[in-house]
Symmetry: C2
Subunit: 703 residues, 2 copies
């Protein structure tokens, strides 16, 4: 059973079909008939003999054969009965349009749960409940009340909001945008967004997957599958509902972006999903990706017949971080030979207001042949002399003769270019009303193209002592201790190949001083007790001790004072530890997102994280390249290279630290948050030291 | 003579009128006639007797009366002759459509200069050359070849790009957007963008000024006048051509934004000009501002009939830094009483898919009456039951009954809401196709509203010794010395009330040590010579001297070594200076933009400016509030307040320093760039010290 079977249904039963117009049960039937559906249609309604000229059946069973698809439009409380009937006659695919489930009340949620159980037992797949239905224009199947069937095209669309789907459909019809399938996923009780994305991924008629989502059901699976499918087809998503919801969950790391929003950014980046900020942007990008090849790079050539719009395009290209292609000498020569002397031959090419289609053709051919051009942006202003339609025809013809590079068109104006716009549409050249929108689509294509051509991800696996960490974590969880103390945090770090500060526990002042002599000054003293997590708060940390005498004094003061403050603590002694004085302090961290798992965090210590929020996140497990990207994406990266005249530090050692931490938190889903702070890193060739760590654990969701 | 006279012309002569279709000279005449112009029309062309049924005149003089407006469409080289004829018959207003001037060649530029001279002598005002002409729909005047007259409305539009104007006109016609005037300013040889903006500011039919500009002719006047006009009417500008052009000019302060781009941002911020990133955004904002009152604050109430779009609106509101209004208890009670129990009553209010016009009306009235609501965003999805048109009528009616708060509508879809959209348009309710666009317009309104209601700008004038600075600068310029040395830079700072480090010049080691004793250790020694600007490079600076002995050693070493390195320098001694050890180093600076004058700069010293680019700019002269805004807009502001556990510093002392520097650079246009670096600022109550300054001067443009 797959979602394709829904779309390929050769017979459809509509349970709850109604004779009364404006009732959903009538609208679904009428939509199906209006769409010219060629299979059998069975209205089911015990109170009618005939609807819209079709024989009406009192029940599913009464049909006498098994419909490929059953659309259910009865009141919520009747739906379980209908679904049970589906199971009993052997129907396998249902669309439950009815509402009154999880979205409305706890009782409704219970009812919805019942549907899932019935479907599971009866081996039924269903879309919904609380949805508008499904549409497949190529199959003339409109099992919905979302509107009329749109034209056939390459965009497969799914929406968690029915009303948005209906609005999009209405808008798309007006702009003649074609679709392969449209699915209103409703409460997604059985078939969820990932099932749909997977089905659209497999569907040969779908070239671009687009959708609107408010929630993601299974984060891990989403990342894995979306990443796989993005390698074949672009996925364009509008994702809402992150800003407010996530705000409370935002941790100290994040300040401006809520944690949930940050997680979505990381997930989409990893999975190659193109995030769209508006419906318009989504269709701008979708039309480009559905109709044009991916660009090999970010170098854009602009061909225009007016100064203003070409400057606007050039500005937008620069703002979006794309590049105005540098035209080759050959190209410039061809333009010089083929064009009047007055035009600006350099990119953006301005052919002037009197350019006819022929002049555009010379320029278009020249830039398409230029190996330094990856993308062509064609900006036409409809002047009195402009041959709008002929130029559009020329663009379509040339694009067919020289495929390989994407061509996007910005034909300004409306009525004057109406015919030309039709020509472009039919010829598969995406058209934009304003240069900025065209450049926005170019940017989406270039980003996705880069993602697609990135090298294969290889996550390095370090040899570690996993068993040791497992024991420590299990011991904590058994005793319901959720903070891991310094002693054991250090053991965990060492088990994963981190170097921790040299040191040992002393039980007398004399022994402390001897240890300090061995380690070398300055040293740090820390009270050593499994019962004291926050050492500083009880006076259990003393830094910068530079002599035997200071060490002994500090030891004795701790031993005298702390038992008074924390009488119940079992004090095992005092840790005497080396104090790193060279290098920089950075923070390696992890926050586990409840949906998507561990987000790796990197930032320079102190004010850079706490005040300037200069922090990078990435979804674990990370590769060496991704660890480097995290570093270079911070503004403080230059400081690591010595931009403030301090010694440059070993960047690759930090990247390795991030990868080791990534491995640790991936292998132990019980670790909820973790920071190595500070991670002291010195110049190349030195070994960084994980000075301190904070680890919080909890029972893993699936552990 | 004002631009209004152009639009109120009761007779128009077209010199170069042509019988041949597709010729500009024909198109201008045809446009005028098609538009239903009610005044007299005189085609002028010696080669024709009659055009389009009108008598044609061989020359302007042959008309026998003086036309109010002369449109010139003859070849460039003939234009001076025609303009001379205008002068001789006493015509005062001309639109020069002809091209072939500054835009095409140096000869053309000379010809354009000639036009300006003829106009000056003949007391003629003219638009152009190289323009599409002017349009005034309310007067049925279309003296252009830009397209047909659009509907009458409140938007006055000017464009430096003819093709963009034509495209906008075509698009606006398709969307039924009304205009008061449209002006293609072309090469703006005589009437420039500011003349037009001023005229539109005075025009009672224009409620919103909008335009596209590539260059600004007189920066100072632009700032002054735009600020004055923005207090009355919004000015919405698309400004292009800043990114690339300015990149080379970018100074060390700026890294990401080119200096020119930064200047435009500062200018628009000061003058209240609303910058638009695209044509679409410009009309989105213009329609809101032309038809709706300004909001009193940023609190938005969203009324919707679907979950998805209301969440999208809420997300966009949060992203734009606006606020979802908190509804009062009274409002919630009214909603509870008047609406079904299932709707979400909290903002964003979701009235559900079955909401009829009546339900929308209850909600709209309730939020309009709520004092906590500043703006209403109405988001309608066209469901099967939705009364789109009735709801639109209700919105229009309610808005009229309860004016005062802006109402913006996002009616999703296309065909289903087509009639409703017409109703909204006629009722002055701006309509958007997507929630994000509506929220973008809300943001523009809220920002402009805040700008309009800001307190009056009062620039504090400090008592200073202006004469002293004048003498120093004049002396430098006379000798063509463009860098001002430390000695005199310090005098300049002191003349403007800055405190500089205590110190004096010593001519012997003994004297240096005595001075150091008086000042208190540590001290700094600096070689003292008018001929040495870069002291450090010749070993002329020694910091951190802590004793008599060290001071004497440093003195003697400088006196021994420096004369060898710089044999020609006149060495006057060594400056012994106090060394500030307390407080923070910040930078106060100024970069003079060639168009707009001094841009004030503030940043924390060191890496914060050089690596993190955490810098604020503001156009001088600045007020106390603006100085504070500069400080608070940096990310490092929290450090000044002690966020890194260092002592908080005297914020107001920094703000005063910025104001004093602002006064200095405003009063001396000769100062091209200036930095006080470091400006050492301590805790409240201490006096900050301007430790070092770098000043570059040049002949002022107008000085």
């Amino acid at each position: 059973m797959s979602l394709q079977d829904f779309f390929n249904a050769r017979s459809v039963a509509i349970v709850g079909a109604s004779r009364e117009e404006h009732k959903t049960g009538h609208e679904v039937l009428a939509s199906l008939l209006r769409g010219g559906y060629e299979g059998d249609v069975y209205p089911v309604n015990p109170k009618a003999d005939e609807i819209e000229g079709l024989r009406c059946y009192p029940s599913l069973r009464a049909i006498g054969s098994v419909p490929d698809l059953v659309v259910i439009v009865v009141p919520a409380k009747v739906v379980p009965k209908v679904l049970t009937e589906c199971a009993s006659i052997g129907a396998r695919c249902a669309v439950i349009v009815s509402s009154g489930f999880k979205e409305s009340s706890p009782d409704g949620a219970a009812l919805e749960h019942e549907l899932v159980e019935i479907a599971r037992r009866g081996n039924i797949e269903f879309v919904g409940p609380n949805c508008l239905g499904i549409l497949a224009p190529g199959n003339k199947l409109n099992a919905s009340f979302a509107g009329d069937l749109p034209p056939v095209g390459g965009i497969g669309y799914l929406s968690q909001s029915g009303s948005l789907l209906a609005s999009i459909l209405d808008m798309a019809m007006a702009e003649d945008i074609g679709f392969s399938r449209l699915i209103s996923i409703g409460n997604k009780a059985k078939i969820d967004e990932l099932d749909v994305i997977r089905a659209l991924g497999d569907d040969p008629d779908t070239t671009v997957i687009a959708g609107y989502l408010e929630t993601i059901t299974d984060g891990d699976a989403f990342v894995r599958e979306a990443e796989r499918i993005s390698r074949e087809k672009p996925i364009l998503l509008l994702k809402s509902g992150e800003t407010g919801a996530g705000a409370e969950a935002a941790s100290f790391h994040t300040g401006r972006l809520a944690a949930a929003e940050m997680a979505i950014e990381c997930v989409f980046e990893r999975a190659g999903v193109i995030r769209c900020e508006s419906i318009t942007a989504q269709f701008d990008y979708a039309m480009a990706l559905a109709n044009q090849p991916l660009p090999a790079g970010p170098n854009v050539a602009v061909i225009a017949n007016a100064g203003g719009p070409s400057i606007m395009a050039a500005d937008a290209i620069e703002r979006q971080g794309l590049t105005l292609a540098k035209l080759s000498d050959t190209t410039l020569q061809r333009l010089t030979d083929g064009l009047p002397a007055v035009a600006n031959l350099h990119n953006p090419i301005d052919l002037l207001g009197d350019a006819l289609a022929k002049r555009f053709e010379v320029a278009l051919n020249a830039v398409l042949d230029d190996p330094g051009v990856d993308i062509v942006l064609f900006v036409l202003s409809p002047h009195a002399m402009t041959e709008c339609t002929e130029t559009a025809q020329m663009v379509v013809r040339t694009a067919r003769a020289k495929p390989g590079k994407p061509i996007l068109a910005c034909f300004l104006g409306a009525r004057k270019v109406a015919e030309a716009v039709q020509v472009l549409r039919q010829g598969g050249i995406p058209r934009y009303k304003s240069p900025e929108f065209a450049v926005g689509a170019v940017k989406a294509m270039a980003d996705y193209g880069r993602w697609r051509s990135r090298p294969k991800r290889v996550v390095r696996l370090f040899p570690v002592n996993r068993r040791k960490v497992e024991r420590i974590i299990e011991r904590h969880l058994r005793r319901d201790l959720l903070d891991i103390g310094e002693m054991e945090a250090q053991e965990i770090l060492e088990a994963y190949g981190f170097v921790t500060p040299r040191g040992d526990v002393a039980t007398s002042a004399e022994q402390a001083a001897n240890l300090a002599d061995q380690i070398g000054y300055p040293v740090v003293l820390k009270i050593w007790s499994p019962d004291i997590i926050h050492k500083s708060e009880v006076g259990g940390v003393k830094v910068g001790l530079t002599s035997r005498q200071e060490t002994m004094d500090a030891f004795d003061l701790m031993m005298y004072r702390i038992p008074k403050r924390v009488p119940d603590a079992n004090i095992l002694g005092v840790l005497v530890q080396e104090m790193s004085t060279r290098g920089r302090e950075v923070i390696l961290g992890m926050e586990r997102d409840p949906r998507f798992g561990p987000l790796m965090m990197f930032g320079m210590g102190g004010i850079f994280v706490e005040v300037l929020r200069d922090v990078a996140f990435y979804l674990a497990p990370i590769t060496a390249e991704e660890a480097m990207e995290m570093l270079t994406s911070t503004r403080t990266y230059q400081l690591l290279q010595g931009a403030d005249d301090r010694e440059a530090v070993d960047i690759s050692a930090i990247a390795e630290g991030l990868q080791r931490l990534s491995q640790l938190v991936t292998e132990f889903p019980q670790i909820q948050t973790m920071d190595i702070n500070p991670f002291m890193v010195g110049p190349a060739g030195t070994t960084p030291v994980a000075v301190d760590a904070r680890i919080k654990v909890a029972q893993a969701r699936n552990g």
